[in-house]
């Protein structure tokens, strides 16, 4: 016995996942432009290993294999790849994807049941376990100082599989703007001095010509993808807007109070993984609130935590921690932020 309605709008999980993958393409192409073949190798490795982990999990747990084809595993793999630094060795790419799928998703019951964003969970575990690898940022190819020729396939192949020795990191890597400012502040420099010594240019950060995780550097590319998501109604404006505005507001207020210690809003918004997290991670449907008010609360929470971690904690970047911490609160937020029912 089928209950009404007897027609369906035609949306499906598969369509949604493919659209998100499509929306990630600008950021992916940007990462290939910045890091050449190495980016290709890392991303391919992540996608393949996460699909494989998903398959093994489904097989072991006796679940339906149908979810293999819906693109969710490939998407998680792509996400993992995009939040990793390009210099990760092959085994870390595989480990990260496996962690995301097994620990981040399947152990909770598979698609739709995970409380935390799988890709960010994996990244946090990797960051805590292998801090050196996870905080060494290669100099992107378009910048003149680039030490590795990312456009040479055999060189990339070698870097990917034999790795860069820990001592060699200094030669091939540079600091991210966030990291640089953080270090400078601990050395009693002012924010403006730090930015000057980094030769910080906001437009460069906007386009993405700077060090960082594969997919997070280019705000422009992320915004292009986000426009697609917004246009297709796969994300709503509430979370990203609340998130970014909160960070900007906090940064502005404290920057006005003490400009030497607190970086300005523009710097905060363009730096690190904030925009990627705001549009793609915090809006992950499974781990974000469904009610509009709840989404605003969630976004504000993410913003506050991100800014606090960036400003006061030991880590230069806090966006991923913020999103995962707020993920815990989602059921509570959804419960208390239900909209007013018609006529009540």
């Amino acid at each position: 016995m089928f209950s009404s309605p007897h027609i369906h709008g035609g949306d499906s999980i598969r369509k949604q996942m493919l659209t998100v993958i499509l929306a990630l393409m600008p950021a992916t192409f940007m990462s290939v432009y910045l890091f050449g073949w190495l980016a290709c190798l890392v991303l391919t490795c992540c996608i393949l290993s996460s699909v494989l982990s998903e398959y093994i999990c489904l097989k072991l747990m006796d679940r339906r294999k149908r979810s293999l084809l819906d693109g969710s595993a490939a998407l998680t793999g792509l996400f993992v790849g995009l939040v990793l630094p390009v210099l990760v060795p092959w085994w870390m790419a595989i480990l990260g994807s496996a962690l995301a799928i097994v620990l981040g998703k399947q152990l909770y019951g598979g698609l739709g049941y995970n409380p935390f964003n799988p890709a960010l969970t994996a990244r946090i575990i990797l960051l805590i376990s292998f801090p050196v690898y996870m905080t060494s940022w290669a100099i992107p190819m378009p910048l003149e100082q680039a030490a590795i020729n990312f456009y040479d396939f055999s060189a990339c192949w070698q870097v990917f599989f034999t790795g860069v020795s820990a001592s060699a990191f200094d030669a091939v890597s540079m600091a991210t703007p966030l990291g640089h400012v953080k270090t400078a502040l601990t050395q009693q420099q002012t924010v403006s001095e730090a930015l000057a010594s980094y030769q910080y240019q906001p437009w460069q950060a906007f386009i993405g010509l700077e060090a960082g995780s594969l997919g997070e550097t280019s705000v422009l590319a992320i915004l292009l993808g986000a426009a697609l998501l917004l246009g297709r109604n796969l994300i709503s404006w509430h979370i990203p807007t609340a998130y970014i505005l909160t960070v900007a507001l906090l940064a502005t207020v404290f920057n006005l109070i003490e400009p030497d210690r607190y970086a300005p809003a523009l710097f905060h918004v363009l730096a690190g993984g904030l925009v990627l997290c705001a549009f793609f991670m915090a809006t992950d449907p499974v781990t974000s609130p469904v009610t509009p008010i709840g989404q605003l609360v969630f976004g504000i929470g993410c913003g506050v935590i991100t800014w606090c971690i960036r400003t006061y904690a030991n880590y230069p970047e806090g966006a991923m921690f913020a999103v995962v911490v707020m993920n815990c609160a989602v059921p509570l937020i959804d419960h208390y932020c239900r909209p007013r029912v018609y006529g009540r």
Partner: protein
């Protein structure tokens, strides 16, 4: 819908399904008389009727054949002249396939009619009399719900009705019966609105029509122009479920009907186009409700169209008149595709709430009912819910039989419009979850009442036994005492 319209649609959420209103150009055609008519004893919300006629009686068209003593009911009338052949249980158009007591009338082909007195000069007649005429005519809401119409036509000094809204929205895909009525019977509908305004004493009449029916709107506008100054046509952007009473009132008046209250309490009377047409027929022409317009459509129907169908006509007969004779691989929906029900059995009669019959090929039909995937919390259901529920959370409570929490999430405010299921990318049948939980709550209430009554009966039983025991003991004591006394003597 353009951006401007989007801002004007003032009810929350909603969807825009493909319209498929291809029968909009098919004029209403009278369906041929059938040989037998079956009248279920309950075609309305309220108390079931009891037959007023016996097997073998001859009845005339429009003759009242069943009624109830309760206030909330609508009497039932014979759809044609003929002989009552049987009074027995018969299935009704319902997803359960279950039935109820029904009258079987064998048509004699003469179609003799018995009319009520005409109240053509209704403006000079006491509204109470007109309301009584509407009640006697057995008119229910013809939009699908089937609430007896006269109950809404109450004049209440505490809650005076200032606006009558005619619901010409017809937001369900495929259905076009109201659309055709507005095109072909505009004058009667406008006069029907005038009758309603007179009955409830309203100053204003609004006919709400969606923007996908510009011809109907134009026709009604012309009819109004040379009729009354107090009426207006309101063209609304096309959006489902705008035809829901509460949603329409919200769009037209900007007010919400408070939970647990009626439109009456905010001074509004809302009535469907088909209902108003039959109110006109009852008051001005003295005809009881014995026929209605039904849209017969769907991909599997060869000759789609709008038919004037007598209440009680067998659905398979109606379908065969539209060229659909082989019913083996066909699924038929009773009503629109969004809120209508799949019929397990097509040998059931058309009833007052039969708005449409839509035939699908079985394989095609099952495609839209895919196996559900897990919920991914995309929140689309929250965006489209016209009553602002959180359908995904609610469904999860219903699924786990947590009726208490489901009610805290306002389960009973759900109008079952189906928007949430329609947009769900995981194909979760949310509406079915809600219906199941509503049924559970009702069953729990029934069980509780039954067990309470059983407990009382059992206590009474025990008390009675106790009393009997005492009485027996007393009798024995008496006898013993007597014996003793005798012995002592």
């Amino acid at each position: 819908m353009n951006l401007f319209d989007r801002f004007r649609a003032k009810f929350h959420g909603g969807i825009q399904p493909v319209e498929w209103k291809e029968t909009a150009n098919c004029p209403i055609q009278r369906l041929a008389l059938s040989e037998q008519y079956i009248l279920p004893m309950k075609q309305h919300i309220g108390q079931e009727c009891v037959p007023l006629v016996a097997v073998g009686d001859r009845v005339l068209r429009g003759q009242k054949v069943a009624r109830s003593q309760a206030y909330v009911h609508a009497p039932i009338h014979a759809p044609t002249s003929g002989i009552v052949r049987k009074i027995a249980d018969n299935p009704i158009p319902h997803p359960s396939g279950l039935g109820m007591l029904s009258l079987f009338i064998e048509a004699d082909g003469l179609d003799e009619e018995k009319k009520m007195p005409c109240l053509a000069d209704y403006r000079n007649i006491d509204p109470v009399l007109i309301r009584e005429q509407v009640r006697m005519a057995g008119i229910t809401g013809l939009g699908g719900a089937g609430f007896p119409a006269f109950i809404k036509h109450r004049r209440d000094d505490e809650f005076p009705v200032h606006t009558v809204i005619l619901n010409g929205v017809e937001c369900e895909p495929w259905l076009t019966n109201d659309h055709r009525l507005m095109l072909e019977h505009g004058q009667q509908i406008v006069e029907g609105l005038d009758i309603l305004m007179h009955v409830v004493g309203a100053k204003k009449g609004i006919i709400a029509i969606e923007s996908n029916k510009p011809d109907a709107a134009l026709n009604i506008q012309q009819c109004i122009a040379d009729f009354s100054q107090d009426m207006e046509v309101r063209i609304l952007p096309t959006r489902y479920p705008q035809g829901g009473e509460k949603q329409l009132i919200q769009v037209v008046t900007g007010k919400e009907v408070p939970a647990g209250k009626l439109p009456l309490h905010i001074g509004v009377l809302c009535q469907n186009i088909g209902t108003v047409k039959s109110i006109y027929d009852a008051v001005v022409l003295g005809k009881s409700l014995t026929e209605r317009v039904v849209t017969i459509s769907g991909p599997q129907t060869p000759r789609r169209g709008n038919s004037l169908v007598r209440i009680g006509t067998d659905l398979s007969f109606i379908l065969s008149q539209h060229g659909l004779t082989d019913l083996s691989e066909v699924k038929v929906i009773h009503g629109g595709p969004m809120m209508g029900e799949l019929l397990p059995n097509l040998h059931v009669p058309a009833v007052k709430s039969t708005t449409g019959l839509l035939a699908w090929h079985t394989a095609e039909f099952e495609k839209s009912h895919e196996q559900p995937d897990p919920c991914i919390h995309c929140g689309h259901c929250v965006q489209v819910c016209p009553v602002k529920l959180v359908p995904n959370e609610l469904a999860s409570h219903c699924k786990h039989d947590d009726t208490e929490r489901a009610q805290a999430y306002h389960l009973f405010d759900c109008i079952e419009c189906g928007c949430c299921s329609y947009v769900c990318p995981s194909h979760i049948p949310l509406v079915q979850h809600f219906r199941y939980a509503k049924g559970m709550v009702a069953q729990q209430a029934r069980e509780q009442k039954f067990s309470e009554e059983s407990r009382q009966r059992s206590e009474a039983h025990l008390q009675r036994i106790e009393k009997e025991k005492e009485a027996r003991a007393a009798r024995r004591a008496k006898v013993l005492a007597k014996q003793k006394a005798l012995e002592e003597k």
